[in-house]
Amino acid sequence: MSRSKVLSLSEAMVRVKSGTRLMTGDFVGAAEPAKCLEWLVDNKIGNLTLITCTPGMTGGFGKGHLYANGLVSELISSHVATTNESSEAYLSGALMVRQLYPMGTWAEKVRAGAVGIGGVLIPVGVGILDQPGLFPDLEEPKQKVTVGGKEYFVEEALRAEVSIIKGWRADPLGNVEFRYTSGQNQRDIAMAGDYAIVEVNEIVPVGTIPPDRVGCPGVFIDAVVQGYSLEDQHRRYRDHWIKLGRLQPIAEGATP
């Protein structure tokens, strides 16, 4: 029999140490592995290199606390300012960003790391992102190659020591099901990490998730941890959306 991959939060998260190259799943804060991020803050795991689509959602939410607490030393992403916390860390010089990638390029680089290829040839931004001086912290100019008469960036695969993704539910084999837009590139992120943790709303017995509803096969997952319930997750996001003015406050007397 296969051993269960269900671990406690700290059993799994102990893999993330000071200086770890970490990749997390989310899209501007949607479908973030919330409990795992809280664990990093609670345990003050710092000096992280964070590979993530964008810094996250602003206003004191999820990943934002990592920057606010000075835990991220380098960011590999498409943006520096989707959270005020990351923006301040970047502008103050506390957060190193060697270069910024178009989001689609970032996602292809992660996928390349996920599927064992060396990289991809990206046409987006050629003639723009290779302008001398644009990214002064880059040690070498961006590599280019010409194929079929057109110039492309050679964008190298991105991999991490630990990947943390967020799913809806998972079974002890590590099979993960996602709800709606929360799938994002979570499976790629899991595959691109030497050690892959999934945080889920619910842990279910093997056989619960129909084979064609598995969004990330368990073979790609090393640890399954229990996150917020779906109901609590909805409440967290609704509360934050109300705070940011993206949703109307719930009227007095209404049942939340």
Binding site: V28, G104, A107, T181, H234, I242, L247
Partner: protein, 231 residues
């Protein structure tokens, strides 16, 4: 919806209403954040378009009520959305593949500056000596979308034109802009470069536009005032 006169509209509303006129029935549409998002409020009733969200969705609908908001149904700006009949979820890499590969018909993007070659700049200004804040998905949109609409106020706070001869900001897309919509005018970007003034705010002449515009432009034979069907 109330139907204010153009004179009573904010610059943002003018831009959003005019951008809405660029969208055709059945198109696949991606709206950037800010003014572009407002565009969806002004599409003609009965028009059916497919809204695209970069994170992985075709066919989303209006914002849900607070208690209906599902935290796993969001757009690229982490706002709750709803899914219309016929909506399709896809993974992020497929979504960006669609963007690069020309499956998005039209996008409306906010801009810091545009220029008369159709160059669009919206991801980087210098802060503390660093480029800030980053491209997100905007470069992918500019690269692949069939029709890129630049939506911006005509002038900055000092009254300087944001429609430039040549922008010196890092570009989001090179020669990508097809139409420039400001609160004062509408320009087509000609295929070989150069601007064609198509419309101006009612009451403004082509010379009035020339006076507030750094870029060179020619004036269309059918140059006319912006017209919103406010009936």
């Amino acid at each position: 919806m109330t139907s204010p006169s153009i004179a009573a509209m904010s610059p943002r509303e003018i831009i959003a209403r005019r951008c809405a006129q660029e969208v055709k029935d059945g198109e696949v549409v991606n709206l950037g954040f800010g003014i572009p998002t407002l565009t969806s409020n002004y599409l003609p009733k009965g028009m059916s378009v497919i809204f695209h969200a970069e994170n992985g969705c075709f066919g989303f609908g209006a914002k849900p009520g607070t208690l209906e908001a599902d935290s796993d149904i969001t757009n690229a700006g982490t706002e709750p959305i709803t899914l219309l009949p016929g909506a399709a979820i896809m993974d992020m890499i497929t979504s960006f593949g669609a963007m690069r590969n020309g499956f998005i018909d039209i996008t409306v993007l906010g801009a810091l500056e545009v220029d008369q070659e159709g160059n669009l700049a919206n991801w980087a200004t210098k802060r503390n000596g660093k480029w800030w804040p980053g491209p997100g998905g905007a470069m992918d949109l500019c690269y692949g979308t069939k029709k890129v609409i630049a939506a911006l106020q005509h002038t900055d706070k000092s009254g300087d034109s944001k429609v430039k001869r040549r922008t010196n900001l890092p570009l989001t897309g090179r020669r990508c802009t097809k139409v420039i919509v400001t609160d004062k005018a509408v320009f087509d970007v000609l295929p070989e470069g150069g601007l064609l003034l198509r419309e101006a705010l009612p009451g403004l002449s082509a010379d009035d536009i020339r006076a507030i515009t750094e870029a060179d432009f020619t004036v269309a034979d059918d140059f006319r005032p912006m017209n919103f069907d406010l009936a």
